[in-house]
Amino acid sequence: MTFQVERVPHAGTATPSFRQRLEHIWETEPGVAGFFSTVDHKKIGIRYIITAFIFLAAGGIEALILRLQLARPNQNLLAPEQYDQLFSTHGMTMIFLYALPVLSGFSNYLWPLILGARDMAFPRVNALSYWLYVASGIFMYVGFFMGAGPNDGWFNYVPYANRTYNPGLSMDFYSLGMVFLGISTTVGAANFVVTFLRLRAPGMSINRLPVMTWGTLTASAANLLVVPSVSLAFFMLWLDRNFGTHFFDVSKGGQPLLWQHLFWIFGHPWVYALVLPAMGMVSEGLPVFCRRPLVGYSAVVLATLATMTLGFGVWVHHMFATGLPNLAMSFFSGISLIITIPSAVTVFCWTATIWTGRPVITTAFLFFASTIILFVIGGVSGFMTGSVPADWQLNDTYFVVAHIHYVLLGINVFPVCGALYYWFPKMTGRLLDERLGQWNFWTMFVGFNLAFLPMHLTGLLGMPRRIYTYPAGVGWDTLNMITTIGAFILAVGVLLLFINVVTSLIGGALAGANPWDAPTLEWSVPSPPPPYNFAVLPKVASRYPLWESRLQASRGASSVTEGALLDHERETFGVTPLDGEPDIILKMPFDSYAPFVLTVGTTAIFVGLLLHRHLWPLAIVGAVIAAASLLAWLWPERRLGQTVEAAP
């Protein structure tokens, strides 16, 4: 094939033979080879979602065992150390291995489809971030199964995490595992940021971007800036434990509060990173079932950006009880209260969308709409703990546990379930069963509230977090029993979801391209989409390309059937970030083993570091493998338009 530095992209419509040619260019090799080398964002996205749900199930089972231990006073089901490892592993699993990866999975799958591109900006990085995520998850769980899971809560405060008080490998597994996972999060975040800026359909200017993408964009930008904080903190802890440094060692001038600062500089923005993409899913899906566009697109987008920006300035509200100066506490308390304003804007926009729409009560609608209620409850309890005097009373009680679960289940798990009901037909070609879906929703909703609403009271009555048992007759018995019953009902609800997924995969109703009559680009392609996503690159002239004929306000002339035919190997447009005008034809990479090999090398590095007293050469071998695969990856290729064209 001749290769030019410049080309006029031909426009046209897709013929069956043209589609066949694209299929040949874009499809992944079948079998084991394809499994390890694919860079297709759809395959990677689905893998992400499945893996995250496996971790959700693991974290859920851990939670049920904890609830059995706490169901009645003075129980002996778990020893204190077992309880510590279980609750810490539960937190680690849900917060790090489920909550963000599941959102990355949906975004990986959906972004190119809703943006009108043929893949993510860095398809191989996409594969890398998935493999690293799996490898780091396995790494940390190996520790857990060896009896060396984390045992100091997910935020792992020093000095208890120091070697003196915590010998053994628990903390080493956890600290290295978190640095490991941080690489996956960071490269994935960079991929989202660049895709958002560059890989869209022609005409998709910044005000026409699907609202969902804004949530993942802000979360990713934040992750780029805050993940290094926690990676550094864990790395310093590991140095303290293994090489005698003194970052957190009081006897040599070390600063335990430095750990808390570094952890929460990361930790609080991270909480927003776990909810903003999920809120984006609600903003995307809820209006479809209200049969109208989202009320206040611009307000919701600006609120998303404002939440994230303010989110960098609230971390100290986790440290009100550590004796910081009043001025610092007042400042962070102020921001923690102000941050509710943009959240409220989003809530009002959602409510107005339902109010002025004609809601169709599907399971997806129920999950999305229930998010609003749960978000308000979780938001109000957060507002309360953002105030210094209230926090001094509530800090380290079950009130905070109730708050975090309302936030993380309410604005992560519930919207994710809604998203699954909404986009499952696109991913598989089949609808999830609605009747089972209604049972699924109501069981989860009732179980969740039964478990966690009374827990606020448990906290107000003074029950501290992280205790493995409690005495009878101090007023906590009934409440804890109710919470345990609720937790099991919630688990049944999640089980119904899994059953629905399996039965619908086999015998669900066929969906067709656009079963919900939705307005965005992913619904213009078949379900499931072909490997190349779009046969011709769509042209976008409004925010809702598939609703243009019926929306008077946004009369546009988007085209999904006629557009650029980019078919010289794997190609897609790069566009200008603001106007969405194509300014380059990007050559997309072919399937590659480099991401997998790089992950193998990285894993060897971390295992070598973990066992550095015996196995340090393994880290060297890993580094050589990693460097070699990275060089091979980056080596300029003529077929990717990265080298000087040879004269014909």
């Binding site: 805050v226 140095l239 440094t245 600063q255 570094l262 005008e581 050559k587 300029p636």
Partner: protein
């Protein structure tokens, strides 16, 4: 696509290549890492009495020549990039080679600096911070040197010219970033003790 007839570049060109945006993200996240490293230093400095540093004013004997080498290597990379745009391939390669050599000189000065210190990583809080901060810088520098070597090899293999220049531009951005990081570290470790 308002004008269907206009020709578009294909593949990696100038700052429209995805790799350019990628290196900007890398610089953002790595800058954040060094911000947190220096934050840890300043946090400890304000919490502890001035005697927390083993030497009141760390010596410039090796750190100043190292800084000059680093600045010169950035200049060499800048000259190399400019030469590539001016289609002077020889100067392009020479600039890369100078930058690599100056990077190695920086490495050598830092090695002498490390050897000259009377304390080790595990001596006290200051030494832990000193070796960790400079160690992170040296690790970034080592990756940069490998990267510059790769670009030089690609240039010698005839992969690069004024149109296909992305590897040079991307690597140059990373190298200037490493220089900027060193300036921040130099200011923190060697200059701020005079402000007490």
């Amino acid at each position: 696509m308002t004008d269907a007839a206009s020709a578009l570049p294909v593949g990696s060109v100038d700052r429209r290549a995805s790799g350019w945006y990628g290196v900007l993200c890398l610089i953002a996240t790595e800058s954040a890492l060094f911000v947190y490293l220096l934050f840890s230093y300043y946090y400890s400095a304000v919490q502890l009495p001035p005697t927390w540093t083993p030497e009141p004013h760390p010596s410039f004997a090796y750190s100043l020549p190292a800084t000059i080498a680093m600045l010169l290597s950035s200049a060499a990379v800048w000259w190399s990039t400019r030469s590539l745009h001016g289609r002077a391939l020889g100067a392009h390669r020479l600039g890369l080679a100078f930058a690599i050599i100056l990077g190695l000189i920086f490495f050598a000065f830092e090695g002498l600096e490390w050897a000259s210190k009377p304390y080790m990583l595990s001596s006290n809080l200051y030494s832990s911070l000193f070796f960790t901060i400079t160690g992170f810088d040296l690790a970034h520098l080592a990756i940069g040197i490998v990267g510059l070597c790769a670009v030089l090899i690609w240039s010698l293999l005839g992969y690069l010219d004024y149109r296909r220049e992305s590897p040079t531009v991307i690597m140059a951005a990373y190298w200037h970033f490493v220089t900027a990081v060193w300036i921040a570290i130099f200011f923190t470790l060697y200059i701020t003790p005079y402000f007490r």
